[in-house]
Symmetry: C2
Subunit: 356 residues, 2 copies
């Protein structure tokens, strides 16, 4: 048995893999593979309709928002957001909480003026900047809610008076959010929503059509909204597997139920990091992520030894990002509490062996 703590693309529920595998041979008793059906077939149109409806239901998306399944990853959104909502010569405000936030700002700066309202780069992004002013004359404010690499997360939307776009790639569907607080939410699927190859965008319709730019159709949210995410051939399988995963989440009881599980999983692991003298968390306590738990040990030898022990116990994907080092345990929705317990057991085992 393997416990997959990888940061993404990452673990999905076993049931989802099973059904996803079967559909490659025979989708919904059509006698056809999900990979060979037309995206214009009734069967697949139903997949997209249900996936969109489930996102709306699970996140309680209010009226006036479009829910889109696009390609290109969050990185494509870094460009599409300013293309769609930032007028030529306009200004956007970005909060810099790590590599991905920096990239988002850099791409926007190719299309307009970007003001970095605050950055935690001074301490390798181990904390979330708190006191900053967002200029009222900016068109929108952008931030990254969960910083996968550093293990920090922003649970409360910063108080701003302008439209807000948020990259929720690594915490979407892991906790209850109030969609109405945001004007644009986007997320690469490959953490909590599905496999790689599809990106969720939830955008307030009022925000669109005002940038005055000529936008190629494929990058125009309004085109995708009008076409119900079928402007061109969509990433059929990635959407289908996302649907299976959304169904799984609904059956579990929805976002509020998984949030409670995620709180327990994170607490279990952080408690052990606090208790065990061999491990040390890297993120500022109050900014700790519930999705990616980053920690280090005192020496490179200890880290190598623990990684080896973890591997023997089937605990994989734990190596930290090179810019932080040590370990990163990604504990997304589909990772069970028993996998977290297996990691905690290995940490205790390491401690005992050292004490012996």
């Amino acid at each position: 048995m393997k416990h997959n703590f990888g940061a993404g693309p990452c673990i999905l529920p076993k049931e989802v893999f099973q059904e996803a595998s079967e559909a490659v041979i025979d989708f919904n008793n059509t006698g056809l593979s999900i990979l060979e059906i037309s995206h214009r077939s009734k069967e697949f149109e139903q997949v997209v309709v249900e996936a969109e409806a489930l996102v709306r239901e699970l996140l309680e998306v209010p009226e006036g928002y479009s829910v889109l399944f696009l390609q290109g990853g969050a990185s494509q959104q870094f460009a599409m957001i300013p293309m769609n909502i930032l007028p030529e010569g306009g200004k956007a405000a970005y909060l810099d909480t790590g590599v991905w936030a920096t990239k988002a700002a850099k791409e926007a700066s190719k299309l307009g003026n970007v003001e970095i309202v605050a950055s935690s780069s001074d301490k390798n992004y181990t904390y979330i900047p708190k006191d900053f002013v967002v200029p009222a004359d900016a068109t929108y404010f952008h931030y990254t809610s969960n910083n996968t690499i550093y293990g920090t997360e922003i649970f409360e939307k910063p108080k701003v008076s302008i439209p807000t776009a948020v990259d929720m790639s690594s915490d979407i569907l892991s906790r209850v959010i109030n969609v109405a607080d945001f004007d644009l939410i986007y997320a690469g699927a490959q953490k909590n929503m599905g496999p790689a190859g599809v990106t969720l965008v939830i955008v307030k319709d009022d925000l669109l059509g005002k940038s005055g730019r000529v936008i190629p159709s494929i990058f125009d949210y309004q085109q995708h909204a009008k076409a119900g995410s079928m402007y061109n051939t969509p990433p059929v399988y990635s959407i289908y597997v996302s649907l299976l995963n959304l169904r799984w989440l609904k059956e579990k009881g929805g976002v509020s139920v998984i949030e409670q599980e995620n709180i327990i999983k994170a607490r279990t692991l952080y408690d052990e990091i606090e208790r065990n003298p061999y491990f040390k968390g890297t993120a500022n306590q109050e900014d700790r992520s519930r999705m990616n738990v980053t920690f280090v040990m005192d020496t490179a030898e200890q880290e190598a030894a623990f990684l080896e022990l973890a591997k023997e116990r089937g605990l994989i994907g734990l190596k930290g990002h090179r810019s932080v080092g040590g370990f990163r345990a990604s504990i997304y929705n589909a990772l069970t509490i028993s996998s977290v317990n297996a990691l905690v057991d290995a940490m205790k085992e390491f401690e005992e062996k050292q004490g012996a």
Copy 2:
């Protein structure tokens, strides 16, 4: 048994579906699903490397070309091509052979000046314009080699003295081409290369970096080339299934072998259309596509009756595009000659029943 004549996403070989299904449960004996492995894992990096190598081998791609696996479909290339190679205020020449060619030109016109060098819209795109002049001062010439909807195909590259970009979405890997004749080739995977969700781009390196435009990184071919198609999280599964399909093609003997099969398949079907008094081809004979065979009958009643008979015989995906009507038999690489024979048998059966 179903014979899938759908236009795309479409049939792939049974062996590919089988292996693609197994990998969703256990990829390469890793004990992990292909959907949950990191795109930065050695195992997946090897998938991308091998897929690229197979494209280079099967199409005999010469030195000096990058081979990229991107997202967004051919429609995204409609915008990315001018973004990357057309200077601000520059001119591009487009050949109009159908809806997709028109769309490509329309998107390019958002980024520069477009001259339509010829169009067959006067006869609903049933033929390929032959005598046209491509302006020598245009930056590039663009055409669509196979017109899925109308069943026409351009086998010989038009004689032009400027760089040429070609949309080969529906005939890539179906016939031998000389890549050196082109400066940019692109193809949505979902006909002969793999499932939906990935797009192949083969681009001459010399062509790039000269447009003078500020290009968002995600739309910049040079960024993708530098990163070996891993600029950001790639569409893992779509690339993996494409790899399986490329392996299958290589094992069959490669493109020249499949081309001979495709010639026989197309001839078999066109011969029956010629012979059988109840059916009539819609495309100009000399421009007939080897990939999409379009034909009609005299009356709507006959067409409804034949579609019903076809369905009974397990022949599916035959309904023609609404702009042409009648039937479209897509006979891509993975569709076997026995499926073509089954269609021909049904056509003969229809004729006999009418004669009775």
